[in-house]
Symmetry: C2
Subunit: 136 residues, 2 copies
C-alpha cells in the first residue's frame, strides 16, 4: 500500500493519511478521478479504525482534495483548487518562519533551505502541477 502509518509518530494517524494522500496526488501517483480504497478497506490495510480513516477522508474532502460519493466511493478530485486563501498563506509563511528559526540554531543557512526546496520541487514535480493543470 502506498500509505504508511507510523504508530510511534506524534503526528495523529488521520493527519498522516491526509499528508500522504496529498503528496501522492502532487506527485501524480494518484491521478484525477482515480478511486481510493474504501474506508473499511484502507482501515483493514493500515490496521487502524475505520473511523480514523473516515476522519481523514472527510478532512480531505473539506479541502477539496477528494470527492466522496455515497455508496460509490471516494475519488481524487478534479475540481480546481479553491482560491488563494489569505489565511492559508499566512499559515504557510508562519511555518516557514519557524523552520528558518530552527535552521539558524543548527547552522543551516537560508541558502541550504533554498537548495532543499529546489530538490524537493523536482522530486515532487515529476507528477502534476495541481494548480495549473486545472486552468488549461
Amino acid at each position: 500500500m502506498l500509505v504508511h502509518i507510523d504508530q510511534k509518530s506524534q503526528t495523529p494517524i488521520y493527519e498522516q493519511i491526509i499528508k500522504q494522500i496529498k503528496e501522492l496526488k502532487v506527485k501524480g501517483i494518484l491521478q484525477v478521478n482515480e478511486k481510493l480504497p474504501s474506508v473499511r478497506e484502507l482501515s483493514s490495510i493500515l490496521l487502524v479504525n475505520p473511523n480514523t480513516v473516515s476522519k481523514a477522508y472527510q478532512e480531505l474532502e473539506r479541502q477539496e482534495v477528494i470527492v466522496t460519493l455515497r455508496g460509490k466511493g471516494t475519488f481524487i478530485s478534479d475540481q480546481p483548487v479553491s482560491n488563494l486563501d489569505s489565511k492559508k498563506m499566512e499559515e504557510l509563511k508562519k511555518t516557514i518562519k519557524q523552520v528558518l528559526i530552527e535552521a539558524k540554531y543548527y547552522g543551516v543557512s537560508k541558502e541550504q533551505l533554498t537548495e532543499w526546496l529546489d530538490e524537493l520541487d523536482k522530486e515532487l514535480g515529476g507528477g502534476t502541477d495541481v494548480k495549473s493543470s486545472k486552468l488549461k
Copy 2:
C-alpha cells in the same frame, strides 16, 4: 512583555513560549547571558501556571538555548549550538516538504516560498547569527 500567549491557539502554551524565546534570541533581542524572567515571574505575567513555564524552560535548556542555575535564575546560553544533528536536519527537510506540498495546493510556487525565505531572513537577520557568533 516580549512573550505573548494566545490562549485560543492550538499550539500548547509551553511550545509558544519556546518558539518565542528562540525567535527573540535569533533576532538578538535577547542577548547572550541575559537573564530571563523567573518561572514564577513569567507565569504571573503570562497568567499561566508556573509548571507550564518550567516545562518550557526545561525544554529550552535541553535544546541548549538557555542555561538554568539553581537559585540564580535562567539565562540565555552562550554555549555553541550542538553539532549538526542528522535527525534535526531530517525533521527540517520533512517540514519543508510538507510546506511545499501545501503550497502547491494553493498555487504558491517554489519561487514564492524562496522569496518569503529571503524576506524572513532579513527580518530575523537584524539580530545575531547564532551559529557563527559562537565560533569566533
